[in-house]
Symmetry: C3
Subunit: 373 residues, 3 copies
């Protein structure tokens, strides 16, 4: 049975499926004339190049094992073993820390070329740990204990540890799927980490320029985060919103709290709908694929995305993004995206050399070609 790649199974608990993902991005970032930075203008990259496997083993066990090799290294992404029994799933290994709806949903299925600005800024990543989740009808509870990312654990002095908790209520209202979620995150940075830094790119990952940036916050000992989520899928329409507050505990300095949040709405021009399961958006199924009498699925989305990295004495700047995206999914497993964003900056850390301005606008146009299975 093909799900992009063949899923081989024996009907008795054994299954195996290769996993792959290729995302190619190109973008133009247009900043005011007084900002001279060769990382702006045109840039392009292999955004993700992942190869891996997943499968199940009789007795309730399963696994996912994938690496990203887009940049010449082999970075572990999902690499875990799980055990399922009834509504319970216990997972050990590197996996996501229940950060929120958009972060947990695959990058194959997002409405924009990158997730909301805060998800990257606040250091969301997969970490080595143990977690349990329980699903009972529309209620999903997830809790885990995590140390750090596999790459960061090659430092044997890294003894950071954290706990993460997420609760989701996702009822059906008629034919509409609703989603409400809250999450809490606590993390002791450990003895090897004494500072944190939050910053973010202007929507696209192809540039390394960040207009807002807290720079290194010294004396950091702990991070706490609280998130709230809501979403609805109603036929061709969907809307989703998230808000997240991240606080850094510091020794000998104030404890700043930063905020990020986004709201989006989307509409399929074709007779299609987004897919949802287990507290996440899932890959949509194209109703009338190209080559079978259709043109595939076409979706338009709009988003407002805010990231505020200023609090008290820390002036990291504020980024307000106004974004539009057009997504064409000719067949399942392949899609093409076109994104436009206007970013409004306040107290940006990149100064306009002509007028000394730190509040200005930046425009971004981006395209992606994507294969995933």
């Amino acid at each position: 049975k093909f799900k992009g790649a063949p899923e081989i199974s024996d009907g008795k608990g054994w299954s195996f499926k290769p996993r792959g993902r290729l995302l190619f991005d190109a973008a133009v970032v247009d900043a005011p004339r007084g900002i001279v930075d060769r990382g702006l203008g045109f840039s392009n990259e292999v955004r993700r190049a992942r190869l891996g496997v997943e499968g199940t083993i009789p007795g309730g066990f399963g696994y996912k094992f994938e690496a990203d090799i887009a940049t010449g290294d082999a970075e572990l992404t999902d690499a875990f073993l799980d055990y399922k029994r009834g509504g319970l799933t216990v997972t050990v290994g590197q996996h996501n820390t229940f950060q929120g709806l958009e972060e947990l949903s695959s990058s194959n299925d997002t409405s924009f070329i990158e997730r909301a600005a805060f998800t990257d800024a606040f250091g969301f990543e997969r970490r080595l740990g143990v977690s349990a989740q329980y699903q009972a009808g529309p209620v999903l509870a997830q809790a885990g204990l995590f140390t750090d990312n596999a790459a960061d654990l090659s430092n044997d002095e890294n003894n950071g540890v954290g706990g993460d908790l997420r609760l989701v209520y996702a009822p059906m209202l008629g034919h509409s799927q609703l989603h409400f979620g809250v999450s809490g995150h606590w993390r002791d940075l450990g003895d090897a980490v004494t500072n944190v830094r939050y910053r973010q790119r202007p929507l696209v990952h192809t540039t390394d320029t960040r207009f807002i940036d807290t720079n290194s916050l010294g004396g950091a000992t702990k991070e706490t985060g609280y998130g709230a989520e809501a979403a609805v899928i109603a036929g061709r329409f969907h809307a989703a919103g998230e808000a997240f507050w991240q606080t850094v505990r510091r020794t000998g300095a104030a404890d700043p709290t930063f905020f990020g949040g986004s709201v989006e709405a989307g509409w399929f021009l074709t007779d299609d709908t987004r897919s949802y399961k287990g507290g996440m958006f899932k890959s949509m199924k194209v109703k009338h694929p190209l080559g079978s009498g259709g043109i595939g699925a076409v979706q338009v989305n709009a988003r407002y995305d805010r990231l505020d990295l200023s609090d008290g004495a820390v002036i990291g700047g504020v980024q307000d993004g106004y974004m539009a995206s057009l997504i064409w999914t000719p067949v399942d497993h392949i899609r093409f995206m076109l994104n436009y964003a206007h970013m409004d900056y306040t107290n940006a850390t990149v100064v306009n050399a002509i007028n000394g301005d730190r509040s200005y606008g930046v425009d971004t146009l981006a395209a992606r070609a994507q294969l995933s299975f």
Copy 2:
């Protein structure tokens, strides 16, 4: 259906096949006594270790995704998505830039342990880009726009871009396959690259010593290249030849043009023939494999290979290689090679310390064991 690895397909447009390649090389390079270099003499390495996947998706889409992990990194090789309709193929992602017959043919199928000296010297590589090719009977036209190699694009200041064009006419003459090709290549190096360097090893890749080398050519802004190709396969016999002129445009310095070219001829001692399709040599099919009553395929090849890296004020040296190879392919997907080369150097950049000579001969003996699927 096994093609080295199993190709899984459903007959309705879905298919999937793992890809793999292991090439183990050992060589001895014998230079004059006055050249003391511990990288000469015996050397050996894992030349290529590639793992990947390829497949097709209903609607005309397909992909290839492979990485080379021979040296501890994971270097993307082919990583692209394509769309085929009739004779048209549109490709997006990292792929070859239509450099020429031998470069486009797989390293699994070359007649010698390394390709002609100019292919490596002039920086032929896969790059991220978009291309189209159209095949109509014996005529093949290929054109693409490319930026740079995925690894080099991790520098967001890299805004190099180029265009590549290749035309092939490949008619049958009786039972003989003919091949004629020309190609043109233009590349703006962009703001992040201001110099280029061309150099080449003495046939084998196991040593890092280059006897000819332009060293860094400063002020470089553009590269242009022109290639011509011809080949014939007639039963057990084949011959192939290529020539390539590479010019560097420079600011504040002359624009040198370098030349590389090679001619080869080969003969199967067994009742076998080389394979050709789509403007490339393809993997041969052994008629009488080992273990099925035969001894596999045995082929001998001879080649003259010239690379001239001297032009005007740039004295990079000239390398004339006289080479012979013996290839045993016991079964499809496995082969063993033995290569001998005598390299004649003129104005080499490595000086013989005894007599100050820069013109001398170097002998190379090399062996390879190969698995590919």
Copy 3:
């Protein structure tokens, strides 16, 4: 047919199977209070994350190709091509150098979280080379010529080369499997390597602290090693022991000989037994798996493990480890381990800062979750 992952074969010589391995480790190392080292205490890591393929090709050929990506690089492990005919196997590529019973057995199947201290200390690793082995009833002879690890061969000045020989006699005594083995190893370090260093961690790999360490031994030119092995599997019981003497030949200094050895015994609490074939322990088959009416296999093991890195003027220290392990294998391909070790050090190279003591005890508690196929 599933062997963890599906093995696809056509019954006529073709076969293909994906390979994968995920080992997650966490440990606490408790040293005397005077030893302040942030790498001690709690540490955790992805110990192994391997992905690869293996297969056979008609005519007697086969291959294994795997890489470890646990730490962000892609390190080749097994990467070879082999040819089998009758009891003879010829192998070319990167593979193990017939070091001894436990090193040759997969890390999926060891009785403790790490192998005997000497196997890592004496630099056992896979190397590029050519080998032959011949099995005739209970007798197995293995011999090979090897250069170096693929990663180390990226230095073209590396011309180290060595020879390895191993003889095994493995008769059945009633229903008991016996194993006796000896091995000899000779290695010329070559011109690029002029010193060696032997050291070892306190059982677990999650910490990088080594309490014993020869530090750099200069003037090294050659290594020779001799090993002896014995083992028995009798129903639920098994015992195994190995001893290994490693000598460094040096210019202008004495040639020290270091010793390592271990003895272990284990017992399945469930009706299970270890598996053995071809001079190695192999993966056990769980008789009553979880989810099929059983609880899986439960095994307890005890081990004494000594490593003596002191000889003559070299005072690298002695480590005596007393270890216990509990292994739960709920189903084939998955297991969980709990290990405890008390390490007694004599002349450790890490000095207790409080009392200047170099002889003390260290306690280690370690856990692993493992998936392998």
